[in-house]
């Protein structure tokens, strides 16, 4: 690289060098952009292979001219530190930038410029772009499944009520705060169950009965995820404590439970819950398929939660146990006031991970005939009137799942930041 030394800037000439360098990078970008968007080859006067490599070479020389250990200019230093540390990284940066630019026009025209959203049948989609009409027409199905259109307000009301009850904790009076855990672990799920049962299932108060087979779409995703999340966490906590118990019976029951559920695939658990499980029940005993599925997923995920929480328990120093014991605290007081608050704080990232996986596992309930969002897509794409739009559906579903999961992970970061103060 001795020959390129004249291209190396130093602190005295960095200003001129960075101007020339950024100009060269700009030229390379303009060349690629015009090539991709306007289909004009600005460098057509150059011989074949050089034309293709022109932006890459110009960009590399430009970045090379800007590279300096410390310039004092914040933006330049940031750029150098992160994407321009050496020639190889500069090359990667340019290649990634160019491929994004190259891919943009096609995807933009498919998703937006050539896409169709008007009309309400397949015939409206004549263009080469995406057919968002399909999503528009099926939107209610994707949201509410086969639930009768005129009753959709019931689902909306139920969700608003459940969310409202969830916020009770924020407004609880100071002297009732100690019952908060009790509220969220026992009372809240019961309230949520009753709300969903009476509003969405109906059957009383003059509301027509809608069986769970008709439920579906995103609302079913929410219902399944909600109950599984809210039940699997306390259950996981119990098994995590159980696995560390000094009583052999409790310890080995916990180990068996955890190892059993971690060892079987979720899909077989779901099959079992819907096919095998009813065989073991008495004739006159009926349990709804949705309830069975929720129980199955809860038991399954609780095993994962238990191991994550156990990791947190193990990371606490022994001194914390000693100190709590020496103050006269028994097992439960020690865990409730000293151990669990610290351990649970440590496992927020792991728990968030498990919960995200749980939400993304819900589409599996399609195998037992419950069609949540991804399930409805699978049904819709096989509808004879709407063949050939699977792509649009999957993009729509992935955007929705991404929003849900991103919101959850954001929330977990907030929790972490909120409880971080002490250490």
């Amino acid at each position: 690289m001795q020959t390129f030394n004249f291209l190396k800037p130093n602190r005295s000439n960095i200003k001129n060098y960075s101007i020339i360098g950024s100009f060269l990078v700009l030229v390379s970008l303009i060349d690629v952009i015009s090539n991709a968007f306007l289909k004009i080859n600005l460098t057509s006067f150059l011989p074949g292979s050089i034309t293709t490599l022109f932006p890459l070479i110009t960009g590399l020389i430009g970045l090379n001219m800007m590279r300096i250990d410390y310039s004092g200019n914040k933006t330049l230093d940031l750029l150098n530190k992160n994407i321009n540390t050496n020639n190889f990284n500069a090359l990667l940066t340019l290649l990634i930038l160019f491929s994004i630019i190259k891919a943009l026009p096609q995807s933009l025209s498919w998703m937006i410029f050539d896409a169709t959203i008007s009309g309400d049948s397949k015939d409206a989609c004549t263009g080469t772009g995406a057919c968002w009409t399909y999503i528009k027409v099926w939107f209610r199905r994707f949201m509410y499944g086969m639930y009768p259109n005129e009753f959709h307000w019931r689902i909306n009301t139920a969700f608003i009520l459940v969310i409202a009850f969830g916020f009770v904790g924020y407004f609880m009076k100071e002297n009732l705060k100690k019952y908060l855990a009790l509220y969220y672990v026992i009372i809240y799920p019961v309230i949520a169950y009753l709300v969903i049962y009476y509003l969405i299932s109906g059957g009383s108060f003059g509301l027509q009965w809608v069986e769970t087979g008709a439920w579906g779409g995103l609302s079913l995703t929410f219902i399944v995820s909600f109950f599984c999340l809210i039940f699997c966490f306390p259950l996981g906590m119990i098994f995590a404590l159980g696995r560390r118990s000094s009583l052999p019976a409790i310890k080995y029951i916990s180990i068996c439970y955890i190892e059993f559920w971690r060892g079987v695939p979720l899909i077989t658990v779901l099959f079992m819950s819907s096919v095998m499980f009813p065989m073991f029940l008495p004739e006159d005993f009926f349990m709804d398929k949705l309830v069975r599925v929720i129980i199955a997923i809860t038991l399954f995920e609780a095993a994962y939660c238990a191991e994550v929480i156990r990791g947190g328990l193990q990371s606490l120093p022994r001194g914390q146990y000693d100190a709590a014991k020496s103050l006269g605290m028994g097992y439960w007081k020690m865990h409730i006031f000293v151990i669990l608050p610290q351990a649970l704080k440590l496992v927020i990232p792991g728990i968030a991970n498990t919960f995200l996986a749980l939400v993304k596992d819900t589409p599996l309930i399609f195998v037992v005939g419950l069609a949540e969002l991804a399930g409805m897509l699978a049904l819709a794409k096989t509808n004879p009137k709407w063949l050939g739009f699977a792509m649009e559906g999957y993009i729509f579903a992935s955007i929705i799942f991404w929003i849900i999961c991103y919101a959850m992970s954001k929330y977990s970061y907030n929790l972490e930041a909120k409880y971080k103060t002490e250490r």
Binding site: D322, A323, K325, S326, L327, G328, Q342
Partner: protein, 244 residues
């Protein structure tokens, strides 16, 4: 002579195959201050951890305030509530403020009303001179301040006996003094104390008796003056010559 508040008879303890404590006999009367010293690994810490049953002993009897400690002891929590302990590594609860560290056990173990517990805690924190830090978290305090808080936390349970497990070993030299000062004033207040420490100055100032341990045995047990002026065994003489 009143009945001893702690009575240990022919106590033996093993960690696996290794015998940590060999035939320990010890009686401590109320309001007495005992200092336990000895080389590391001699079983000092294990001995005082046995007194509130953070470690279980396998043979012999330990009687604390009239209650025998054994597997059958049901209310071990009750006995522990009467025996305060201060650890080498402070072991404050990092998720609670200094004040909450002190009020947690009185509120939940002794069922003390919150107001009363807070007043008591502030009172104890004032005695160790960190009442102005009450709303901070342990992580924001220096080592010496944390250890003084740990002493205050133990005192908030109003124990009859205080155990100190090398309370100054993890501290900078400058901070040792502030912790020792707090312990001296506690001793002057008449608390029964068993202190594992290498601070011989502290031992000379407050201890009634000094116990020297080596290899899991009590080698020498004597009045403080006697112990320093006229040690009997050679092992003790060697130890004293090295640390004094």
């Amino acid at each position: 002579m009143s009945d001893p508040i702690i009575k240990i008879q022919n106590m033996n303890k093993w960690f696996g195959d290794f015998q940590v404590l060999k035939n320990i006999n010890l009686e401590v009367e109320a309001n007495k201050k005992i200092v336990v010293c000895g080389p590391s690994g001699s079983g000092k810490s294990t001995l005082i951890r046995c007194i509130n049953r953070l470690e279980e002993h396998q043979e012999g009897d330990i009687i604390v305030d009239g209650n025998e400690l054994s597997e059958k002891t049901k209310d071990i929590e009750k006995i522990r509530a009467e025996v305060g302990m201060v650890f080498q590594q402070f072991n404050l609860f990092p998720h609670l403020s200094i004040l909450d560290n002190c009020t947690l056990a009185p509120i939940w173990v002794k069922k003390m009303p919150k107001k009363e517990a807070q007043e008591l805690a502030l009172d104890q924190l004032k005695k160790v001179q960190i009442d102005d830090q009450a709303n901070k978290f342990p992580g924001q305090l220096s080592g010496g301040q944390q250890q003084r808080c740990a002493i205050a936390r133990a005192l908030c349970m109003q124990p009859k006996i205080m155990l100190f497990d090398e309370p100054t070993s993890a501290l900078d030299p400058e901070m040792i003094k502030e912790v020792l000062d707090a312990m001296v004033s506690l001793a002057k207040g008449g608390m029964t104390m068993i202190v594992v420490t290498h601070e011989m100055g502290f031992a000379k100032e407050v201890a009634d008796e000094v116990i020297f341990m080596d290899e899991g045995m009590i080698i020498e047990k004597a009045d403080t003056k006697e112990f320093f002026a006229n040690p009997k065994s050679d092992r003790t003489k060697l130890f004293l010559s090295q640390i004094l």
